[in-house]
Amino acid sequence: MTNNLHAQDALIAVKNIHKNYQRGSETIEVLRDVNLNIHKGEFVAFMGPSGSGKTTLLNLLGGLDVPTSGHIFIDGEDIAGMSAKKLTTWRSRHVGFIFQMYNLIPVMTAFQNVELPLLLTRLSKSERRRHVEAALAIVGLADRMSHYPRQLSGGQEQRVAIARAIVTDPTFLLCDEPTGDLDRKSANEILDLLTRLVQEHAKTVLMVTHDPLAANRAGTRFHLEKGVLAVNSKGEAP
């Protein structure tokens, strides 16, 4: 029952999540009865072999997809039952996405890329500028604002992507293998940055990774195995 006590003050509470995919007549159970609680300010890593359902879980937490059954409470709201339209708005307010392939818009400058999520807000042009500059300063790219993605290294591109994710000050950040495409040195810089976001800026970060060194940075580690959330680093039952 510790779980329920935790759930009281958890930022993210996942209850009995199932996710099935239909491939022809065959039903694939990608996530089976996943339960977990994440608190504000936690740095969480999800590990597990390829195909174990990590991305699927992250997509559900980020409101990009809906579970087959179960509940996902985030800040008290159950996003599992939200309409697509509501989810779109919810994502823009609450989630910062960081992808493995950075996914910046190549024809826009770092500044413009970071500004994109702010276009959906009511902020004025000068307010947007202030937020973008602050976010780029946090990731250490204040001097690269007018660079295009192709003029940046992979590590710098990912930092721009992180700036884009934090610029709206979302409730939490979702990173799907953020260092998967980077060399060790750049990967470490990104991990340092994520750690700093948690420690200095009180961000909540959820990260999927293959890399044990990356996972070691996280305060909490979950393991997914064939859609079942198995162990976590604190040795508690999930």
Partner: protein, 379 residues
Amino acid sequence: MKYLPLLLANLGRKKMRTILTIGSFTVALFLFGLLGVIDMSFNQGVEVAGVDRLIVRNKTSLIMPLPIAYKERLGQIQGVKDVTFASWFGGVYQEPKNFFPQFAIDVDTYRGMFPEFIIPDQQWEDFARDRQGCIVGRKTLERFNWKIGDRIPIQATIYRGLWDFTIRGVYDAKREADDTTQFWFHFNYLNERTPFPKDYVGWYTVRIHDPDNAGPVAKAVDERFANSSFETTTETEKAFMAGFVKQFGNIKLIILSVGSVVMFTLLLITGGNMSLSIRERINEIAVLKAIGFGPVRVLGLVLAESIGYAVIGGFLGLSLCKLFTLSGDPTNGLLPVFFLSHETVLYGIGITLLVGLVSGSIPALVAMRLNIVDAMRRV
């Protein structure tokens, strides 16, 4: 407005493709404008026709004459207000390629019949006093660099010999569609020198009291002269002009067919380019949707992009067409009016927007319906 950088960035994505897409619109709209100009040229007579004017001509053929005595008899028919007449001269100035129409007119009544042509009173009086005087339309005057007082020799082709005229005045027109290439001189001068039987005119123009009464009045005219040696055919000026245009074949159909093929090709090219461009960007669109761009916004962005191409290209095309027409009729007078009408421009803008919208609609729907999770998995 704040999405403008995003739009511009997308337009500038593949320079060559952007140039080709915009270029397609430019070429298509230039052609469209030109077709409109040509259509207008052929139909200008129909466009400017007076609603209260009838044309009375020889029933057998337009080139057969009518007696001058009909003038008075026409005036007596009920519903007829004014009568004037004219004859086609068909002369050549220096060389046959210098074509412009010459009419021998009834000086007393012609000006009153065509108030759309503007001539200063003094010039008209000078013209009326000079038996060999003539009035020239502004376009023809400028084309040959003539000025008032010049002596103009015209070689007759139907009538015989060289005819000398003195320019006594120049006429302008109220509307751009009016023909200012004509050359008018005294019917009495023609009647005096003609080698053919005298006192015959080419056709009559009749003003009626009530335009709604055109049918019955025309019928009354033709009945009045039925069974005489010069039977008449009477119709509204508009119908007459339309019949005249028909002699050249179905211009409208040709123009419509060419125009449709051009627009259809444009639609295919732009639609193809937009689809290609969206397919290359599936991943970016998925990211935009992930960070909170809703379906309507995504739809709007893609449509705005295709309409952007259309508007830039269409503007260039119509502007080039305008420039082209400013240099004047390239056919040496065959097309008496040669200008891009407001109507054509409006149609052009409408078609531009429509093609932009339609060509962007399928890619826009694809982008709108795109499933984020599937799209991200695809890479």
